[in-house]
Subunit: 415 residues, 2 copies
Amino acid sequence: MFSLNEMGKRAVEAKGILAGLSTEQKNQALRCAAGKLIEQTEYLLEANQQDMKQAVANGMNPGLQDRLRLNPQRIQAIAEGLKQIAELPDCLGEVVESFERPNGLKLQKVRVPLGVIGIIYEARPNVTADAFGLCFKTGNAVILKGGSDALYSNKAIVKVLREALDFSGITPDAIQLIEDTDREVTREFMKLKTYVDVLIPRGSAGLIQSVVENSTIPVIETGTGNCHVFVDKDADIEMAVKIIFNAKTQRVGVCNACESLVVHNEIKERFLPALAQALKEKNVELRGDERVCEVLSDCVPATEEDYGKEYLDYILSLKTVDSVDEAIAHINRYGTKHSECIVTENEENAAKFLNAIDAACVYWNASTRFTDGFEFGFGAEIGISTQKLHARGPMGLRELTTYKYQIRGNGQVRG
Amino acid sequence: MFSLNEMGKRAVEAKGILAGLSTEQKNQALRCAAGKLIEQTEYLLEANQQDMKQAVANGMNPGLQDRLRLNPQRIQAIAEGLKQIAELPDCLGEVVESFERPNGLKLQKVRVPLGVIGIIYEARPNVTADAFGLCFKTGNAVILKGGSDALYSNKAIVKVLREALDFSGITPDAIQLIEDTDREVTREFMKLKTYVDVLIPRGSAGLIQSVVENSTIPVIETGTGNCHVFVDKDADIEMAVKIIFNAKTQRVGVCNACESLVVHNEIKERFLPALAQALKEKNVELRGDERVCEVLSDCVPATEEDYGKEYLDYILSLKTVDSVDEAIAHINRYGTKHSECIVTENEENAAKFLNAIDAACVYWNASTRFTDGFEFGFGAEIGISTQKLHARGPMGLRELTTYKYQIRGNGQVRG
């Protein structure tokens, strides 16, 4: 086991090599890694069994156990993921912009890897291979710190991936795993600024918060989504019901699920009963303000706290407003800058909403559940950024790159 | 004086208004602000006098005193700066990308303001107006924390700018100044994440370091430049001398000045005496490795520390290498990812260098001094980013913006 500094140095050395690989070399290695993971299914399952045993002994809740568990189908899916990344276009080297100055200097803004990416995540072994694949394809070296509950699984996956790299004639240090489970080491990792260019936390709000507070490395914040759907007075009621039903119930534990409904007071009598009827099928608990409760007898009164909450559960908060402006103010106040939606047939209100809402993704007449790298057509996703620097919304391969200026002259000096 | 929280809330309210202003409204306000600054020259000079008196009493060094000092010409230049920003194109609302998904969803990536920008800087009153102008033009509200040595000047400038905004019918909270000089308040400001979207430190390495270490707000790191020029064995000697003379001596106290020369061993005998001869004119101290000192008798032996140093002075470190690869390794090790240059007539080596050097700006046959928003044609500059997230190199107006996805559907839900 190497020290963090040693790992940092190795990653920096690796990034220099990775940046120079051809697309085909990278794709070959990704396919090779996919093959090796399948080949080593038994080995991976055994390692995962050790984690699972401990998880059961520690009384880990069933949902988390499910995320931790590997089986042949899941290993197949992980390998498939790497093969899919191999199929995606390589964006490195792309000339993003090109211009010439009056003094004859020729400037090109060229897409290059970020360099060394750190990823801190929880007990989900699939993230290990997935994060490697995305970082590797974009020429980045990656240092992973996974949840300690998945340590055996992660060690096994990383071992297989490193072997595949070695087999492909590429430095295995393209992927390194921090095996020390001491929390102090994780904190130190967050300060490894000399070597690590970007840190991406993936997981719960608590994890992300801790990274934001402790890291000196630039962080891309991902995740928390208190997403709203606003049903305007001119909404198509049937469409509104369909969108909210989908955004709330298609998958409740995800960041792009709808957590709060904002409804124009003038449509509430026609709209709310239809919605409640639909949501009954999934036993969604409704927590509304006074005017909502007047219409829906089995609605629970909402507290202030409800409006700020990402339930990740079959619960929906409801708030009435008297105008699109009030809806915008409410959403900008309680939202997490993730995904927000207006359902309306009124173009003017839609335009106002699309412009005034401060969020990565603003929808007009579509479910917030579409905020996703695959749904956006990126072919991959490392996370959904809720901050404003660098990348906003779904982050695919391109979002794991940066640019540099290459400037060609013939002896120009500054006057 | 408001609390930081109160200032944060006001800035958030202001950003909502600023994002909706027309280009013409903003330009008018900028011109108005320029006019008011000129009108209030007397008032500004009086305030500056108070700072200057204190600076002299505190024994501030002459260089810093000069940066702090205002005079009618400088106020004129500050006002001119605002007028120039008014002339620049408005990039907000630009559709950066536009695509449609098979399900009919129409996605547009639209350029929008970052929101609330915090700027922490030192005792340079010109930054106060300058930073406001750039942030305002890009629809951002700004909260400034200037050096306490410039407090009277900054208060006066901000007062005039706020009056100009008020006069233009725009919320004065587009610009707010933290007047409390307690260091604890500055630290608190760096954690005002609820309200501030981005923090940009401008100033010394120490200031930037402190912000990076303490901020929970995403930071754009600017500044430190240990810039190298590599003179390859196939360099045009006359051009190499001209470039280094310019990069080293045209202005020594700036981040894009050359601090270190890397020279191919095979050209040193022909090149170094010519360079030393030229640099003598400016009394540049040379600190070189053994092989350099063999050629230049009055060269001081360089220590390891020299190669990592941003002198900001008439000093140049010199290092010999045996290949372009060794030059690249040396520069990637000691550089600060700012600006690096190769002087060569060898296209292959130039291409290698341009690709392998990890820096914001990589030059072939031109002075590193061109790394500058104005020289790049951006018409403005808030700083030079040396990190990899969001923006790299000179940051103009566009780099003070982000994007959001506006997604238009007709009832799409996720299957």
